[in-house]
């Protein structure tokens, strides 16, 4: 502490400076009128709100510079409400600042710490209470109570068990099976390789019996992206190349990072980009991650054609699609 060095003295609170309204009755009356005007503007705001609510149709659009075309009904309601509230506040504060006392008041603080005698008695009381219960000496009680309390916390956990089913192997499975037809989404039509031009992309889903009631939780695992390149543009291992058909390669559309739809395809570079966290996958190299936080390529679906030339899955996905989870066993 800088106790030895003499500090500069506290000159005390500066003298109070009176406002005009404190000394001049005319100024005080003027301030009163100003406050009343502010409250009056607020009332006009409420009128604007009521008029907009009742008389302005909600399909009327008006042009306002800078903002462009605006819905007059919504704008009237909003501005009316804003004006009515804002000017109540302005009036109240102007009132406080011009007419209410502005002399600073000094109140004393007291240290929170109680006098030593009280503290001593308090601490003693806690101690004697604790020792009277025997908590310190009777360790059997202490331990068994601890165990009972700990165990009782399990019951809410157990009772919450029915929040959902156990995952089992579900996270690893999709609807895709050997021979499942690829159908367009939307449309639910089977497709031939000729439907897809070189450079084109299409989202497909597995064909199911009741496409009207396809579950979102199935789409969340089944969505597949078809991309057609020239076969010579691929830079794939033989087994991966065999999973393509006629330049068409199929990847899970569900990002291997956090499950977003990997929807951005850049034709020039043949990169797939996830808009959520910018993981970037190289289509020509089996969706290898070339940028971003994803640690795994998108799973590739093995596709071929049936006798009539429609695209089908030759095999289900060989690994779980979507984000990682503890039980995931690959590599």
């Amino acid at each position: 502490m800088s106790n030895e060095i003499e500090a500069i003295k506290d000159p005390g609170l500066p003298a109070h400076v009176h406002r005009k309204a404190d000394t001049d009755p005319a100024a005080a009356d003027r301030a009163e009128r100003q406050v009343a005007t502010l409250f009056g503007i607020s009332a006009l705001g409420t009128v604007l709100l009521i008029v907009s609510y009742i008389f302005v149709p909600d399909d009327l659009f008006i042009f306002i510079p800078v903002m462009g075309n605006q819905n007059a009904h919504q704008l009237g309601l909003g501005l009316g409400m804003a004006i009515s509230l804002f000017f109540i506040g302005m009036g109240a504060i102007h009132w406080a600042k011009t007419l209410m006392p502005d002399t600073e008041v000094v109140a004393q603080r007291h240290e929170f710490r109680s006098p030593d005698s009280d503290r001593k008695e308090f601490v003693e009381a806690v101690k004697s209470g604790a020792s009277a219960s025997g908590l310190g000496r009777r360790s059997l009680i202490k331990r068994s109570l601890g165990a009972a309390l700990g165990l009782s916390a399990l019951s809410p956990l157990l009772l919450l068990r029915d929040l959902g089913p156990l995952p089992g192997k579900e996270l690893e499975k999709t609807t895709w099976k050997s021979g499942t037809y690829l159908v367009t989404d939307p449309g639910n039509r089977r497709i031939k390789s000729s439907d897809l031009e070189v450079g084109a992309v299409a989202q497909v889903l597995p064909e199911i019996e009741d496409p009207e009631h396809r579950k979102l939780s199935d789409i969340a695992k089944d969505a597949v992206l078809l991309i057609r390149l020239r076969p010579q543009e691929f830079n794939l291992e033989a087994d991966r190349l065999a999973m393509t058909h006629d330049g068409i390669i199929a990847f899970s559309k569900i990002c291997s990072h956090m499950g977003c739809a990997v929807a951005l395809y850049e034709q020039q570079t043949k990169h797939l980009l996830c808009p959520c966290h910018q993981s970037t996958f190289d289509v020509t190299r089996a969706a290898k991650v070339i940028f971003g936080p994803s640690a795994r390529p998108l799973p590739q679906l093995d596709i071929t054609i049936d006798g009539e030339g429609y695209l089908v899955a030759r095999k289900p996905f060989s690994e779980p699609v979507g984000p990682s989870f503890w039980e995931r066993n690959s590599q």
């Binding site: 800088s2 504060i93 109140a107 959902g164 929807a263």
Partner: protein, 527 residues
């Protein structure tokens, strides 16, 4: 009867039934210090009230259900499209309920302002040292409110079940699923089965409208009662000491100002809601896991987390048939966990370093606590860099930059810039202390040049007022803790390493430009 007599009668009536006269008398005259920065917490409180009011309005029409419906409302582009009842009812509020869109906008704007005010208030409390004893408990409640606010905001904008918010829920699910051992179980419990299922929206709805608002009410009440009971801190200055509080009495001045300020906050929120459209969910379409829109962005208070996740290196561990996603766990849980725990414990860490166990009611000027200020700016820099990366796609398209370069820039930036910010801020604080010293010693530059008889030009300095001189020198300059490695009897003290660390931090913390003393001034006068 005049208003005064009427109110007097009310006071009588209340006292005869409660005996509250003594308590009320004292508290109606309670003194509140005045400063613009004390309004930040008030903005947060008032936004919360606005959220309760506008949120209640929305519940009258919102249908928290993921049941599939076919849209038949007045918004033509979505006519006949399959969607959840939650999304359809949000469209109904936006297009058919009169004033519904305005209320949705007020609710969302109030949430953004709520979080911004909390963060600004937190910065005020941190940089002025208001969290010191006896207010550590209130600081922790504040951190709890900040955390709950982030969760509550996220749940709130997830409720409409549009394509953007559904993507946010998908990411939240991936974070739960990434937890080692229990992840996939917790995800299945939270979602009632496979993502997205039909259970999640109804569940987060009740959390959003009942559970968390209840927790907010309890914590805010405790927060305010502590402020009331412990009395507000005040800025240093002439006449202000650790033992007093200088300001305006609650009734009428402070009441009128604070009450009026509520209406101003509400009015500004309504104005923003009227003129600036946010979250136009009808443009996004209903959620389906197979689709997404480019430029997906969370609300601002989630942006830094998103930015962290984006910049994470692509690391996963595959071993013994299991997978651990470090690329999700580190940015999504571990770093935020360290940040928030560190924040909550900071008052105790600082008092351990300074060894200061006294009560503090006078605030610090940030320059007079260089280490703390530098630490705060360092943390803010960290969050800003990650926030920038959270918007890297938007920045890339708006400024025609490469997204990869922004990502690499922020990946390095997040490691280099925060320490740099620490060093620069600390130097700046010490420079400002030096400037204060100059000001007290040599006075204010008047801008008047004087030519001396021998031709030299000098600038005339004018002494500053005694009030200002006191303000610039009233702070305490504590020397570092003395923590010798051996005790009085020459025996090595226990915990040598910990003591060494503490001593080093204490020395760094005590680095100051010596303030001007009364003796220095006297000496100057003699010249």
């Amino acid at each position: 009867m005049t208003v005064e007599t009427q109110l007097g009668n009310v006071a009588n009536y209340v006292d005869e039934r409660t005996g509250a006269a003594a308590w009320m008398k004292k508290n109606l005259q309670k003194v509140f210090p005045d400063h613009w920065s004390f309004l930040l917490g008030e903005v947060a409180l008032y936004s919360f009230v606005i959220l309760l009011l506008s949120g209640t309005f929305l519940t009258f029409w919102f249908d928290p259900s993921q049941r599939e419906v076919i849209y038949e409302g007045s918004y033509e582009p979505l006519e006949g499209i399959k969607m959840s009842a939650a999304y359809a009812s949000t469209l109904h509020i936006s297009f058919e309920v009169r004033g519904g869109l305005l209320m949705r906008q007020i609710h969302h704007w109030a949430a953004l302002i709520f979080m911004a005010a909390i963060v600004a208030h937190l910065m005020r409390v941190f940089f002025t040292g208001a969290f010191r004893k006896p207010r550590e408990g209130n600081w922790i409640i504040g951190i709890g409110l900040l955390t709950l606010g982030i969760v509550e905001g996220f749940l709130g904008y997830s409720l409409p079940d549009d394509l953007l918010s559904g993507t946010g829920i998908r990411i939240a699910e991936a974070i739960i699923q990434a937890l080692p051992v229990v992840g996939s179980y917790l995800a299945y419990f939270a979602f009632g089965g496979a993502f997205p299922g039909e259970a999640f929206i109804p569940r987060i709805y009740i959390v959003h409208v009942l559970l968390l608002p209840g927790a907010f009410l309890a914590l805010i009440t405790a927060h305010l009662m502590m402020v009331w009971y412990q009395k507000h801190t005040q800025y240093p200055g002439p006449g202000r000491t650790e033992k007093n509080v200088v300001g305006y009495p609650l009734m009428p001045t402070y009441m009128a100002k604070a009450g009026g300020f509520f209406f101003i906050v509400f009015g500004v929120t309504a104005f923003l809601a009227a003129v600036a459209s946010i979250n136009p969910i009808w443009l996004y379409g209903p959620y389906t896991p197979g689709q997404i829109s480019a430029g997906s962005q969370p609300d601002w208070y989630m942006g830094w987390l998103d930015g962290l996740v984006r910049m994470a290196p692509p690391i996963e561990t595959h071993a013994f048939g299991h997978t651990i996603s470090w690329n999700i766990l580190i940015p999504g849980l571990i770093i935020p966990g360290i940040l928030f725990t560190g924040m909550a414990l900071y008052p105790f860490i600082e008092s351990w370093i300074t060894g200061d166990k006294r009560e503090h009611h006078l605030l610090d000027r940030p320059r007079n606590a260089p280490n703390r200020t530098a630490l705060g700016v360092m943390s803010l820099t960290f969050v800003m860099v990650t926030l920038i990366n959270g918007g890297n796609d938007i920045i890339a398209t708006h400024f025609d930059l490469s997204i990869n370069q922004i990502m690499w820039g922020t990946r390095f930036g997040v490691l280099i810039l925060p320490p740099l910010a620490f060093i620069i801020t600390k130097r700046l604080c010490l420079s400002l202390q030096r400037a204060d010293r100059e000001l007290v010693l040599h006075g204010r530059e008047t801008g008047t040049l004087l030519r001396l008889p021998h031709g030299e030009f000098v600038e005339v300095h004018e002494p500053i007022s005694p009030e200002k001189a006191y303000l610039l020198t009233s702070h305490e300059q504590a020397p570092p803790l003395e923590l010798p490695a051996v005790d009085g009897r020459g025996v090595k003290r226990a915990g040598a390493l910990r003591n060494k660390l503490r001593a080093r931090m204490s020395i760094a913390n005590a680095e100051q430009i010596t303030k001007v003393s009364a003796d220095d001034l006297k000496e100057i006068e003699h010249h």
